[in-house]
Symmetry: C2
Subunit: 344 residues, 2 copies
Amino acid sequence: MPNELLALQQLLVPDLLTTMKKRYRILHHLFLTQPIGRRALAQQLQTTERILRAEVDFLKEQGLLTIETVGMHLTESGKSLLDDLADVIREIEGLGLKERRLADKLGLQQVRIVPGDADHDPLVIKALGHSAADYVRGILKSGDILAVTGGTTVATVAEQMPRTQLGVEVLPARGGIGENMEFQANTIASKLATKLGGTYRMLHAPDLLGDEALQTFISEPHVQDTLQRIRSARMVVHGIGQAIPMAKRRKLPPAKIEQLAGQGAIAEAFGYYFDRSGNIVHAMNTVGLRVSDLKHIEQIVAVAGGKSKAEAISAVAHGCPLHVLVTDEAVADAILESRREERT
Amino acid sequence: MPNELLALQQLLVPDLLTTMKKRYRILHHLFLTQPIGRRALAQQLQTTERILRAEVDFLKEQGLLTIETVGMHLTESGKSLLDDLADVIREIEGLGLKERRLADKLGLQQVRIVPGDADHDPLVIKALGHSAADYVRGILKSGDILAVTGGTTVATVAEQMPRTQLGVEVLPARGGIGENMEFQANTIASKLATKLGGTYRMLHAPDLLGDEALQTFISEPHVQDTLQRIRSARMVVHGIGQAIPMAKRRKLPPAKIEQLAGQGAIAEAFGYYFDRSGNIVHAMNTVGLRVSDLKHIEQIVAVAGGKSKAEAISAVAHGCPLHVLVTDEAVADAILESRREERT
DNA sequence: CTCTCGTGGGTCAAATAATGTCCCGCATAT
DNA sequence: ATATGCGGGACATTATTTGACCCACGAGAG
């Protein structure tokens, strides 16, 4: 433990840490679901109404949340407490240790783990987004260029980003690659720019362009300029998907999907498909960041969770440059477990 | 607060911090009075037997204390927990703040404050001794020369010093100046040397020596050598007393005491008497450290407590060089209060 | 508009935990 | 021997927590 105080307290007042975790959990869940009522919250937290009520009364007394007719809300000091507490809780839960082990195994600068499994609990995605947003905000400086991909997870990062006046430029990492409008890189870039008090540009590359048309498109001066800026980004935030489900979502022809499966494709990121060892087996035909550009970028941040994605995440971590991974506990456990098996 | 975790916990689990303090108090008091039984301890801590029993059962469960037929004892891990916890408790109690304020007001390097008032509770002296011993042990290095004065408080420092093998040389700061054998500087030096695994020398200067005899005594080569070593001490630990009571205890002639009172003598240290502003109004006629030698010494540590000594301590702090003060809360409050009044 | 539905807040008995109050047998020191 | 203080056991009493309701109200849907 980094903080010896926690060790002392564990011995002298074990209840303290337990209650602290309990209250943190309430605040955290409230933050993710607000506004929400007593009964609903109790049910979601697997506790009784009466017991939650006692805690809520206390937290209200401390000015951490407000109770209104529509439900409960965190106050400002509640939110700030939550952020400050996150690190402490991670250490208590032993997530800090897992983070360091996972970073070590995958050769990453840093790993952030959020409790739960995004596959089973959609709130975990929200927590992932919040954690990633917190990290990104801590790193970005005024004037930086930030490139983002599409996907629901990265969209959540934008959604969870608190409003600041940072003055950064946000760009889509790649052109449209067949997502719903809401989760496209362009949309996310615009949303993030708004939240961060910065500017953004779009990269309006039509889907499924023929080679020839693509060349023409790329050679436009305005596009050229945008591409240049994207490649000089200081930070990239991207998601990681499973190869086959992603291919289907993008409505690739069945033959192509067959082929991908045959090549052992398991992961997708940036429009590239990777096999288990991290080799690129296919690349989407669209403009933007290429894997070869990544090595010049200072901070590459991947955000992805859910046990089903564990193998994909592991593959991408090996296949392309990556500095920071924000994921959930289910993934961390799965990767740490599988890699231990390999060793035996 | 140096540790922001405490601030968070103060907000999120205040009552558990209270029980932490409570348990610390039990352990601390037990440490000072062991071996002691349930009932006696409960009475001293102003709580009921049953309530203390619940806590004791818990602490026993945690392996922090043992229960025997003669009473309760701290275990080794209990002692070490106590030491680790001391800093934390000081911060929670706000003593850390007072320490910094007092150090600022008196122009000292460091102040250590122990809760309570040595005038009313003899255990506070023991706590003073323990705190001072802890500090001294942290500073001393092998080969250092340590000079000590007499007095009950400094004697307690020796008593509370844990046994180590430091290899320091302990010397009396001044010759015998009319104390009981047990509290003389010589005796304390010997005791400390034993505890610290070092050597000691004595300075057997008879009381109330005439000028001439004193000169003869000083000129002896062995005494000369000892005096030289004393003056090159790295650290000095001394007590502070009230002038008039100290003069009476030393059985000075009543006329002399009258004179001291007339000169406004209020404090005593090293055999020197100081007035309120820190001027020396009288010096005992004995050998050893002179006030003028003090400025060459690296660490001068004063240990004294009890509200009645507050003015004396303040006077000495102004009158002669001092780096570290170990005192109790009653003194700290009194000095901080009086100095605030002066400003208005 | 009405009519749910979920909200916070009130109430009170039951269950559970904390506490006060004894008493006993046993070491230990006098 | 005996008086003292020790830990531990027992149990009634009290305090607190918890469970299980009900109610009035306001927002949002129909």
